[in-house]
Symmetry: C2
């Protein structure tokens, strides 16, 4: 099978105008794609428009637009009718993480979409191998997982289900590279994907160390901000080993792997956080506490930081050893 998509001609379909859907739509509009958005939920259309506009205004602030925001908004069609998707070469589902609802939505998408369209889910919770059973041609079904804000992160995980064809994977990887992404491919839909799963390994270990009172969560934050943070964006994980010299890592692994936490349990401190309905900056209660102003300050800081780190990452050698990047 030779999967071909020409979404820049035919547009990309996005189903769901939640936070992530809106962010993805804005990033595709900013790239010049016509977007057919489906808002299945009543009232979602208006909120979605507002969110997409906000994201495009951020794009403008980041200096990644070459025309006024209005011209990008003009590329967008929002409708409640799946019929709008019939010309799209790629349709991405971004709705609530509920298997039954997703299955219904994918049946509707499959019924209307082109025979060679690629169907994708932005899910981070439901295995692609399960979701793809809902469509008649599971070979053309794949996971595409953005990070928020979609226009400002080079990160993109592409997740193969059991039945996803290589041609589909290749086509999506190629497409993502034209979006300025650095796509990573999961050959199997591993739970938690890659980044999240690796971070869960970090959380398991640090929750253990904090529970044992060897350190505090504030100090753990400092360590990662000022140590891991000082090389992460430049090097990643394996390059770091190469850079540091490799020799000592091997000895350290032999000594330290047996000491790491293997516990499946949630630490009492984390349990307490959950029991007290802490939602982090959303309600001001979390590992730290936040006034409304502080919560706002963190949101603004994150937006600014995204811009800075996005441009910073673009300044560093990317084509050494055949690595791909466009800035």
């Amino acid at each position: 099978m030779n999967a071909k998509i020409h979404p820049q001609d035919t547009g990309i379909g996005i189903v769901g105008l939640g936070l992530m859907g809106s962010s993805i739509i804005a990033s595709l509009l900013a790239l010049g794609y016509p977007v057919k958005a489906i808002a299945p939920i009543h009232g979602e259309k208006e909120i979605g428009y507002k969110r997409i506009l906000e994201q495009l205004l951020l794009c403008e602030k980041f200096n990644i637009l070459s025309a006024p925001v209005d011209e990008y908004m003009a590329l967008l069609t929002v409708s409640a009718e799946y019929d709008e998707l019939k010309e799209c070469g790629l349709v991405v589902e971004c709705i609530v993480e509920n298997l039954a609802i997703k299955e219904t939505v994918f049946k509707k998408i499959a019924a209307i979409s082109k025979k060679d369209a690629i169907l994708a889910s932005n899910t981070s919770a439901i295995p692609i191998s399960i979701l793809q059973k809902a469509v008649p041609d599971p070979q053309r079904f794949i996971g595409i997982h953005w990070a928020e804000p979609a226009f400002a992160t080079r990160f993109l995980e592409i997740i193969c289900g059991n039945q996803t064809s290589e041609a589909t994977t290749d086509a999506v990887v190629k497409l993502a590279m034209t979006w300025g992404k650095e796509p990573t491919v999961l050959k199997k839909d591993v739970r938690g994907f890659i980044t999240n799963r690796l971070m869960y390994a970090v959380y398991r270990e640090i929750l253990h160390l904090v529970e044992k009172d060897h350190t505090s969560f504030t100090d753990a934050d400092k360590c990662f901000r000022y140590n891991a943070g000082s090389w992460m964006t430049l090097m990643g994980i394996f390059r770091r080993m190469d850079y540091e010299g490799l020799k000592d890592y091997f000895a350290a692994y032999i000594n330290i792997f047996p000491l790491l936490s293997n516990s499946d349990d949630i630490s009492p401190q984390m349990q307490k956080i959950v029991d007290t309905h802490s939602r982090g900056i959303q309600n001001g209660k979390g590992f730290y506490s936040y006034t409304r102003q502080e919560a706002l300050q963190w949101s603004q800081a994150f937006s600014e930081f995204n811009k800075d780190i996005f441009h910073l990452a673009a300044n560093y050698p990317e084509r050494v050893n055949g690595e791909h990047t466009k800035s």
Copy 2:
């Protein structure tokens, strides 16, 4: 006991002029401290001078000096005689990671240093609780662990041994804050300390995923560079949970902790790397391969990136919730 140190009057002693010792000396000179350096190894003095000068020239390039480099170099005394340490309020050992040699060196330091001087080791391999047994007053003995380049990282781990007094810990924390560091305290000398130990948890998991062919090491690097790297320097670990909303983490932990690798074994891929004497960029062979020019390119990029991320980190809200930072 009330530990008092006035190193800016009496100078700081550094024993060992290797890569790390030279880097620490340069960072202290850049802060205006007189430094008494002891070079126990023949020929180390000349190489050390060269390294320190190179680091100070980098400081100049980073715009963190307020006078010509020569004036900072004039604050430095290098000698083979431990006698030079007798007025120092703080003496830091930065020699080879060998217990017997360190014990000999600390006996010499303790014999000459002031009664209330704090003695410290920059070790990342030998437990402070063991090292401190070598000196007559283990209460005033502590671990101080810099990251390289010492002048450009806010990271500093302070490690308590079993016998380290609270007054000693407090004094070193206060001092480190005047150095523009964000010190983190390890109440117990946990193997691997904090950042390294957390990164070992990452390595254990990713080596497992790569071994199972679920992903590749190049893709793992991309994930961490472009996802974790896009928030790490701003938020650290726990703040990230607060920011993302906390609710979903708990559910994810319950599902994913039991799936994480608990293996103590080194993966065959890593074993092969070691067996083929791969030293990373040092000899061009590692997870990636490097020509000499590429190795040099990575070193230069890391130096530049340090400057950029150092200044970038300083631009973000630091005093929210009582966090300390000076830029």
